[in-house]
């Protein structure tokens, strides 16, 4: 295998993880972490210029290109946020330098695992990468070693492992279905072979395999009723990890699901994967929307909002067809950018105020105008108000559904509206009203925050034609 941009996407994080594990001093390592993430992002951009060829192990097509660029971009901005966030944690002594070394190394291992999952051309390799990503995030969620953090990590670990075990069973079943057609051995796990021969696979076996894969990877996507780990893991870990979990890791699991959905769509005798995904997506969206009303912890609030949005995205992909798939892709991109921006703001707010409880936060727009108004902008965006990006994608999802299944569209619209109500109820408590808690100045890095919000605002008004045609290609590919 020759060295190209695809292998560079894996080598850069792997090498930096090793280097960061050795180097002492958090200022230096935090900066190196940013540099490594930037290099990975630049490498991913080069994929637009030079198209590396896919081999037996690594693969590049239009679908994973979008995921890779989005992942490396958010990983890069999060590393910038992380650098300033971590500085504060060291100052107040919540983390020690040793833990920090571990944290930065793990951050890069996570990047490696996610890039591997996205570029793998082998369903076994993809599974290994997702398992690796899960294990690293488990360790990072538990890093504060408080009572709550340990319970969250334990819960995440157990539920995540069970999900991943089910996904492996599904992977084995796919291999069993492919074996008689492609021939035994490595070839029957290579994605490009599977796609070529999918029409001849044994349909009942594929059906059962997809159910296992949906439950397994669905746990990692955070679909209700398999979501129990998600709010805890988001609330108790360091905020940069919440941003990465919501913005990236959920997407990676979703990517795996989409791959297998494509496979089933190519086998005419197999069940249609759409209705299963639509049902789970709709349940997640409605359930999470109602759950938003009873939240008392601000990170938990946005974790439930992530479940809601993943529900909408899975719903859109389940509906299928060029328009709904396009909407799903756009929504996924917008959600990643907005949700991580919100977590950047929330992270700094929680540091300034010294608490995550909604009841102890208040009047943020008065005491910390920049952070407060950024949070307001983020919530306006995530709730789906015009003219921001998420409005556009949600509008597309609902309107494309209306033409085909009006009842489902009404239900989905209802979920979105209920969630909007819940988010604004809590936002009004946090952002406006009587100022509460400490009012000291915030040492925040605003660049990543503004970059994300800026992109989301622009996307609501104008999408570059090149991007639109890329998304349209992928939407057709997804079937």
């Amino acid at each position: 295998m020759t060295f190209d941009a695809l292998s560079a996407l894996l080598v850069i994080p792997a090498v930096s993880a090793a280097v960061l594990a050795i180097l002492p001093g958090y200022r230096l390592t935090a900066r190196l972490n940013v540099v490594a993430a930037l290099l990975t992002f630049l490498t991913s951009l080069s994929l637009f210029v030079v198209q590396p060829t896919s081999g037996d192990y690594l693969l590049l097509d239009d679908l994973n290109k979008i995921f890779i660029v989005l992942t490396t971009f958010v990983a890069f901005t999060t590393s910038m946020f992380s650098a300033s966030y971590i500085g504060h944690e060291i100052e107040i002594g919540r983390l020690t330098p040793n833990f920090l070394r571990f944290y930065h190394a793990m951050y890069q291992v996570l990047m490696f695992a996610m890039n591997l999952a996205l570029t793998a051309n082998n369903i076994g390799l993809m599974w290994v990468a997702i398992e690796m990503a899960t294990l690293t995030t488990v360790l990072m969620v538990g890093i504060y070693r408080t009572h709550e953090a340990l319970e969250a990590a334990w819960k995440y670990f157990i539920l995540g492992s069970v999900g991943i075990a089910l996904a492996l069973f599904g992977t084995i079943l796919i291999y069993m279905a492919a074996g008689p057609v492609i021939g035994e051995g490595l070839g029957a796990m290579v994605w490009t072979n599977l796609v070529q021969h999918a029409a001849k696979f044994d349909a009942p076996l594929l059906n059962v395999a997809f159910v296992f894969l949906l439950l397994g990877y669905g746990t990692k996507v955070g679909l209700a009723p398999l979501h129990a780990w998600l709010p805890d893991a988001h609330a108790e870990g360091p905020t940069p990890i919440s941003a990465v979990l919501s913005g990236l890791l959920l997407n990676v699991a979703l990517y795996a699901l989409l791959r297998f959905k494509m496979l089933l769509a190519l086998a005419p005798a197999a069940i249609a994967p759409g209705p299963l995904m639509v049902t789970m997506g709709l349940i997640s969206c409605l359930f999470a929307a109602f759950m938003l009303y009873r939240r008392r912890d601000i990170k938990r609030l946005f974790a439930y909002s992530s479940i809601e949005h993943m529900g909408i995205i899975v719903f859109a992909f389940g509906m299928g067809g060029p328009l709904a798939n396009f909407a799903g892709l756009l929504h996924m991109t917008m959600h990643s950018l907005t949700k991580s921006a919100i977590f950047y703001a929330v992270g700094h707010i929680a540091q300034v105020k010294g608490t995550q409880k909604i009841a102890d936060l208040g009047g943020l727009t008065v005491t910390h105008p920049v952070l407060g108004w950024s949070l307001v902008a983020g919530v306006v965006a995530i709730a789906g108000l015009p003219p921001l990006g998420i409005f556009m994608s949600e509008f597309l999802v609902v309107s494309s559904t209306f033409a085909r299944e009006p009842v489902l569209a009404v239900l989905l619209g209802l979920g979105i509206l209920i969630a909007l109500g819940g988010l604004f109820l809590r936002l009004s408590q946090v952002a406006f009203g009587e100022p509460r808690g400490p009012t000291g100045p915030a040492h925040a890095s605003y660049v990543p925050l503004f970059a994300h919000l800026g992109i989301v605002a622009c996307a609501g008004i104008y999408l570059p034609p090149a991007l639109v045609s890329d998304f349209e290609n992928v939407a057709r590919l997804l079937g």
Binding site: N122, G124, V128, E131, L139, G142, E151, I172
Partner: protein, 220 residues
Amino acid sequence: MHGISFDIAHMLAGSLVLVSFLQLYQDRLSALINTFAVHALVLTASVAWQAYVQHAPHLYITAVIALVFKAIIIPVALRRIVIKLGIHREIDNVVGVGLAMLAGIGLVALSMVVMLRVTAEADPLAREDLAFALSVVLLGLLMMVTRRNAVSQVIGFMSLENGLVLAATGAKGMPLVVEISVAFSVLIAFIVIGIFLFRIRERFDTVDVQALDRFRGERR
């Protein structure tokens, strides 16, 4: 696949399900750890037999890993942890034995119905193996939900992984990548769990997961 070799493979896979049932009604931790060692031994025999029948020498590696790692190292380590924590006599079933067994029987029936029906065209060994493997996976899951002690949940998870190995070896010619990754993931899982147990011990002086339940969402 014919005659005696088929019967032996069948018997070994069936014994694995049986040992899973044995695990289900062990109410003391030390007995549970012993049963897990037996589980791993049966898995070893089954994988080795598959290696012999399929003429797939690389499967012997999987068998050796199962033997050394799962049947010896992990049980010994867990035993030490359990004795050190003084919980080897602890009884930790959440639901009664009878109910757990009934649920287990239901799950096995379910996996037979599902797997045998969908794999009608696959070769007989693979399909029976798959049905047994799914039973072991489901019984492992059942064990994880009917226990409240962290150690026994971990054992439930590992017997679940044994079921996955059974499925992977039953699928003829499955590439080595996956087998090693399965074994590897168990290794990592154990390290992670080890760290967790250590930390849980450090923080609350108990490995009872119920002690963690004080923190439930936001009810503070």
